[in-house]
């Protein structure tokens, strides 16, 4: 028995060291190579834990852009590294500090975080340390509030809520509107509150407001019944696609068929394993990226992404891709970038992003610009699911 214990101990130890030995140190080129200036880009996002799907999408999307950029042999090269924050604020701050250790004295730009709460924590650190930060998907206005160095690639939550209400008003959809949202989630609550306020302003009638506490909820019949009883003919769902897919299925079971309208968190539902696509027929959603888009750049991105990872990219990946190009194109336009440290680069990038004549074309929009506040200005796109694919409205 004792021998067995010792053997178990040795086995576990060997396993541990095997893992350590199997992974050699990453090879970081760094420095100036062949006349090009190398900028270090440190990404932060959850690649383990509950939110890993979003973090890995932003990691992989950016990776493809970095490969393309470095293959160009342009004046600027990007040295990219991604750190895990598990979706938690304090881990994100540690991840940020380990990126600082990684960059040492080389110019560093922070790309991330993927989710809001870690991003707010990291942004206040980068603000104090003067690093430029661009987040692909942290959408709360708190991320950029009072920080001149933090910029967003996605819409803000209230911005999306307002855009949704305006779209419904202009399209003349929904006379009676129900809202179901996750009141334990910053993203969902942010959109829902702004939507309800704006709906009141433009004269849309919100007849039912229903909440649920977290995305692990599996039964939504109570919320759906409340909407049905109130006579809602359109239900707004500013939530992520996992709970939304259940809502669609349960609505069908109780033969309640209003128009469902979602935010960008809904993107990805069609690629869910085992999801019956017919449930999503007629679903409207606001997403900046359409993976079945036909333009050259989208096609090539989708192809590369699928080849590398075997799944379709969603808007998180596309936002990540665009972030890299935004950083790259801004860096190319800065004079004397070769002699800049992170702090000078931060100021130069802020000046570039808020200068007014800087704009980026990407997968999630064309001629995207940034406001002084750090928010992005691009046109919201509403798509409808028809025959299992997105059709731009």
């Amino acid at each position: 028995m004792k021998k067995k214990n010792l053997a178990a101990l040795l086995m576990a130890g060997a396993l541990c060291f095997g893992l350590l030995a199997g992974c050699s140190n990453g090879n970081n080129p760094g420095g100036n190579s062949g006349g090009a200036v190398t900028i270090k880009v440190g990404g932060i996002g959850p690649i383990t834990g509950d939110l890993a799907q979003y973090g890995t999408a932003t990691e992989w999307g950016a990776e493809i852009a970095v490969e393309e950029i470095n293959a160009k042999n342009g004046p600027v090269k990007l040295d990219y590294r991604f750190e895990d924050d598990t979706g938690v604020a304090d881990t994100a701050v540690s991840a940020y500090n380990s990126l600082k250790d990684w960059a040492k004295d080389a110019p560093l730009v922070i790309y991330g975080c993927t989710t809001t709460a870690p991003c707010v924590a990291v942004a206040s650190e980068t603000f104090a340390d003067r690093y430029f930060q661009l987040t692909p998907s942290a959408s709360s206005p708190d991320v950029t509030a009072n920080k001149d160095n933090a910029f967003q690639m996605c819409f803000t939550d209230p911005g999306q809520g307002v855009a949704a209400a305006e779209y419904l008003k202009n399209a003349g959809l929904g006379t009676k509107i129900g809202v179901i949202y996750n009141n334990g989630d910053a993203y969902s609550t942010g959109i829902a509150n702004a939507f309800i306020a704006k709906a009141k302003e433009v004269g849309l009638e919100v007849v039912a407001t229903q909440t649920y506490p977290d995305d692990k909820t599996t039964d939504y019949t109570v919320q759906l019944n409340a909407c049905k009883d109130a006579g809602a003919d359109l239900v707004f769902l500013p939530i992520y696609y996992t709970p939304a897919s259940l809502i669609l299925a349960q609505a069908k079971q109780m033969s309640y068929a209003p128009i469902f309208f979602g935010g960008d968190g809904m993107d990805g539902m069609l690629d869910m394993e085992g999801f019956d696509k017919s449930l999503a027929e007629g679903l409207l959603l606001m997403t900046p990226f359409n993976a079945s888009g036909t333009d050259e750049r989208t096609k090539s991105f989708v192809e590369k992404y699928q080849e590398a990872h075997g799944i379709l990219p969603n808007q998180f990946a596309a936002d990540g891709y665009d972030c890299m190009y935004a950083i790259y194109e801004a860096c190319c336009k800065i004079d004397g970038i070769a002699d800049m440290d992170s702090q000078k680069l931060c100021d130069a990038l802020i000046a570039m992003f808020t200068g007014g004549d800087f704009s980026v074309d990407g997968l999630t929009g064309t001629s995207m610009k940034w406001l002084e506040s750090g928010e992005i200005s691009k046109a919201p796109v509403v798509v409808k699911v028809e025959g299992g694919v997105y059709v731009t409205q």
Binding site: N5, L9, L19, T48, V88, T189
Partner: protein, 363 residues
């Protein structure tokens, strides 16, 4: 006769206690010296990432030592320790915000916020403890688990803010009628955002010392012996007239208050804190520190918390291993568990350090 016996017993226990103070003070001094040398010579001795871990590590050490008081000394399983941390964190953040104009001196404001955090933790401890400590074993574990979830869910819908009309508190955003120019401190699921960071490594160090003073003196006092008697045999303890509820509550509330103070320090170390951070997993994490450090061993808790909190972050430095760091972390946990329960290994350590034999049970 009794006095002499007492004196002898105490000297042994307090020697062990003094070693704990020594370890903490030495670690603090070492890091401070390294930081000073680093500044003078311009070389990297303590990396940025390690520096950013100092304060949270202090918080988790306090969490582990205080939980050890409940689990190791009192012998009751608590699965809601993060709930007290959460109470402390959010009350501390609100307190520091409200005191910002009154007390501009940051260390004093931090101290007061931590006291507020401790007070809220203690109140939480009393609320849970009074009805629940009449239960035993698994029942207490389940109720504390529920308590942690309740706290998390309450803070998730809690809106707190200040405007010129005064202090606002509401349980939903519709009822939260803050004036335009008011400031929201806690915003429901968004948590507390825009917190002024006050925490410092020195504050964390002082908090650990205070925790050690409180816990070690409690354990070595008359009350502490009563608490341990309850753990070892409740019926026998009751039969000699020990008040079960009183002593259980004493240990439980002390533990909760210290967790509250640690939470306040933790909350004031980051500019944003969300309630979902302090979930069931956070409670289990602290319990893991306590169990792996050794139930009832204060020194074990300190060392386990420090090492295991820093470990996943240190693994980032191993290049590609970063992809597997959570896996390695899990394996290390299993390894520690097997190692500390292995008789052969214990015998081996005993042979190398013969003195350990006697001291082993007094961590």
């Amino acid at each position: 006769m009794e006095k002499r016996l007492n004196g002898k017993r105490l000297s042994k226990a307090s020697r062990s206690g003094f070693i704990n103070y020594g370890i903490v003070i030495a670690a603090f001094a070492l890091i401070q010296i390294l930081l000073v040398v680093q500044k003078l010579l311009g070389v990297t001795l303590v990396s940025n990432s390690l520096q950013s871990l100092l304060v949270p590590t202090c918080c988790y050490i306090v969490m582990a030592v205080s939980l050890n008081l409940t689990v190791g000394i009192l012998g009751e399983l608590s699965l809601g320790h993060a709930g007290f941390m959460s109470l402390g964190a959010f009350s501390g953040i609100v307190a520091s915000f409200l005191l910002a104009d009154v007390i501009p001196f940051a260390p004093l404001r931090l101290a007061l916020s931590m006291i507020v955090g401790a007070a809220f933790g203690a109140v939480g401890g009393v609320i849970v403890g009074v009805p629940v400590l009449r239960l035993q074993g698994d029942y207490l574990a389940i109720v504390t688990l529920a308590f942690g979830q309740i706290i998390k869910n309450i803070i998730m819908v809690l809106y707190v803010g200040v405007d010129e009309k005064g202090f606002h508190i509401a349980a939903s955003s519709e009822r939260f009628n803050l004036a335009e120019d008011g400031t929201a401190i806690i915003k429901g699921p968004m948590g507390a955002v825009g917190v002024t960071k006050l925490a410092s490594f020195t504050a964390g160090f002082v908090l650990i010392l205070i925790t050690l003073v409180v816990v070690q003196n409690l354990v070595n006092s008359r009350s502490g012996r009563a608490i341990m008697a309850l753990r070892d045999n409740r019926i026998a303890a009751e039969s000699v007239g020990i008040n079960t509820t009183k002593y259980k509550l004493m240990a439980f509330v002390t533990s909760a208050a210290l967790a509250g103070a640690a939470g306040a320090l933790f909350g004031l170390n980051y500019s944003s804190t969300v309630a979902s951070k302090f979930d069931f997993n956070a409670s289990i994490l602290v319990l893991v520190f306590v169990v792996l450090g050794g139930l009832g061993s204060i020194r074990g808790s300190i060392i386990a918390a420090a090492l295991l909190y820093v470990l996943p972050e240190l693994l980032r430095q191993f290049g590609d291993i970063a992809d597997y760091r959570m896996l390695v972390y899990a394996i290390v946990l299993i390894l520690v568990m097997l190692a500390t329960n292995n008789d052969q290994l214990k015998a081996l350590v005993g042979r190398i350090i013969p003195k350990r034999k006697g001291a082993a049970s007094h961590g």
